[in-house]
Amino acid sequence: MRGRRPGRGAVPAEVPGAVSGAGPVVGAPDGDGCWGPGPTASVPSGRASELSPGARRPTIRAGRAATTARKATPTTTHRARRPAPARTTVPALTTAIFHREGCSRSPAGPYPARVTDLPAAAPAPADGIAALCRFLLLARTALVVTTAAAAVLITADPWPTVAAAALAAGWSVAGGVALARRPGLTGHPVPLLAADLAVAAGILAIAGAGPVFLAVSCTSAALSGAACGVRSAPVWAGLTAVGYVLTALILRSLTPAGSGAGGAGGGTVAVHLTAVPPLHVLAGLGASAARSAVLRQLALAAAAMAAIERSAIAGERGRMARELHDSVAQTLRGLSFAAVALPASLVRRPELAGELAGTVARAAQTAADEARDLLDTLRADDGGTPLADVVRQACAAWSDRTGLPVQGDLHPLEVAVDVRHELLRILREALNNVERHARASAVRVDLQAGRGAVHLSVRDDGVGFAVPDDARALAGSGHYGLIGMAERAARVGGTLHVTSRASGGTAVVARVPPAAPATAATPAAQPTRAG
């Protein structure tokens, strides 16, 4: 009389409130409640109070309870056999609401964003420097064009100036385009700067030490500062020296040798002209300051990005660890215990050995299923696709695999990351249950928003809810999964409603808030306290 069946003597009254079977269905309102507008609508009014939160009567609560779910069987069959007045053909209706109280299975609060939710990585330093150089080239182009226009208006022979401006503008635009296409060019600044200085020399040859050359040489200094920082100070100094030489030549041409004419006016011009060459140093310094600011900004952005990524990865990793612990790790633990007991049983209690071997095999199969399920979920959702699309893809994949048509309305709506995760797991589990147990010919999956909640429903037209007698069979037969689905819904503050009728199909409806409440367990527990 050593009971292998754990529920020996487990009569429904034993666990008050934990389970109550479906009541007798007297005058069920519709013949095919499974395909009705919703599970609540398919429930007779006499039972409706049990479905509403805050019901006075204890609602049907199931933990991940093998015992609990199993106990529904005698009740259900018993009630089903009771003659229902006037409508003896009404099939039994099993309704259950699952929710959870006081369970700390998951820490409260939404998870950090997924890695895939993040914007693209921070731009590389080369991109920032290239952008700075492009800005300088643009400024130079604008400057030389303006200068050329002024030369046309003022000078008697503007053509050398115009030609020089065209050369400068053409070179600058070409440089800007090249940098836009290949920002990596800033990694090789020396040949580019040499070319730039060569162009400046050409302009000097064409138009002399005029304003176009000044604009080009100053922006050359700035470009070198932007590309190389203060290391390019020799370039600025060289350009400044060239500037002084040119200034001296200009002054000499203004003041004929040995002549005192020009006097005070020539001196003023000389003072102004000598102020021009140091502009190269100023431009170079300014550009190199801008360069370091850009680089610092980019480094900060990259660091911030990395920190966000780390915390997102940590959150994701925590969830994975919890999932692993709750499923595969626990199952393997049981498996290892049973495996340890098996050899001992051969010696001490051979009559148990066969059963133990069965337990080991079942546990191994369960662990494999759980691991595959976990991996499938990981692969199925990259986090960036709209929820409705992911649901559609999951349904399509399932339909392809099983050959069963899936229909339904999938409304475009978005939910918090953890809610989305649990919804997708519930969907997967529900479809798996249909595949394994329902023997259905069609499935309907709906995703809708309503009254502050998101409803995901999976309805089939299969054989309905048939709870096996043996508790051990529950885990493998999907009722374990049903309870797990209820826990998933509760984890994000929602509920799971299951409506099933013998040979009339099953409806599983998850109602969850779009974002998990701060303490996920509390709202789920409230209806229970009221009851």
């Binding site: 991940r64 199952t331 049981g334 290892s336 049973a338 209690r349």
Partner: protein, 211 residues
């Protein structure tokens, strides 16, 4: 043979874990699993119905956690917490609520489970090493806190001796006899002690000193 059978109730939400633990215990031959339950509420009900010798109770379960029902279960049955969460908080609460044993899966060897259930059934306690170190740490920190408090009052060794006698319920006459001094001296000491403890009555002094 069945005279010495230990009747056990298993409470764990994972059916495979239950099956494994059941296998380990049943193979030993000295245990009978009289019921299994998959959440705290069902576990309490099963314990009420079956009155087992030992209850193996998980902590993290749906509907009602292990610790939420532990105090009620431990009134009816010796209880071993068998869980994966060996955090200090859980161990401390479990021991305070009357658990006779604490086993964590991470540290559990299969033969230890049998030994633990046997020991607890015989009225002894069994802690996994992690749980034991939590218990030792908490006892030690409590003792240290008490010592710290007493040093703070600045009582002399003689005064400490005297106040311990007061705590033990001795009258002034008994204290005088015990310490071989006059009652007058005892009263003098007591007045000093009251002043140092900042109290005015004997009862307050005892409360402050032991508090």
């Amino acid at each position: 043979m069945n005279a010495a059978v230990v009747r056990v109730v298993l409470v764990d939400d994972n059916p495979m874990v239950r099956a494994g633990v059941r296998a380990l215990l049943e193979v030993d031959g000295r245990f009978e699993i009289v019921a299994e339950a998959s959440d705290g509420a069902a576990g309490l009900a099963a314990v009420r119905t079956h009155r087992p010798d030992v209850t193996l109770l998980d902590h993290r379960m749906p509907v009602a956690e292990g610790l939420a029902v532990l105090s009620r279960i431990s009134e009816l049955s010796r209880t071993i917490l068998l869980t994966s969460d060996g955090s200090e908080d859980v161990v401390a609460r479990a021991l305070a609520d009357g658990a006779s044993g604490f086993l964590t899966y991470g540290e559990l060897r299969p033969d230890e489970l049998v030994a633990a259930v046997t020991a607890v059934a015989e009225g002894r306690a069994w802690l996994s090493p992690g749980a034991a170190s939590v218990a030792v740490r908490s006892l030690r920190s409590r003792a240290e806190a008490q010592a710290q408090r007493r040093i703070r009052f600045g009582l002399t060794p003689r005064e400490r001796e005297l106040v311990e006698l007061v705590v033990s319920g001795a009258t002034n006459a008994q204290i005088a006899a015990h310490l071989v001094v006059s009652e007058k001296t005892v009263k003098n000491h007591l007045n000093h002690i009251y002043a140092k403890l900042g109290v005015t009555t004997r009862t307050q002094a005892v409360a402050r000193w032991t508090g």
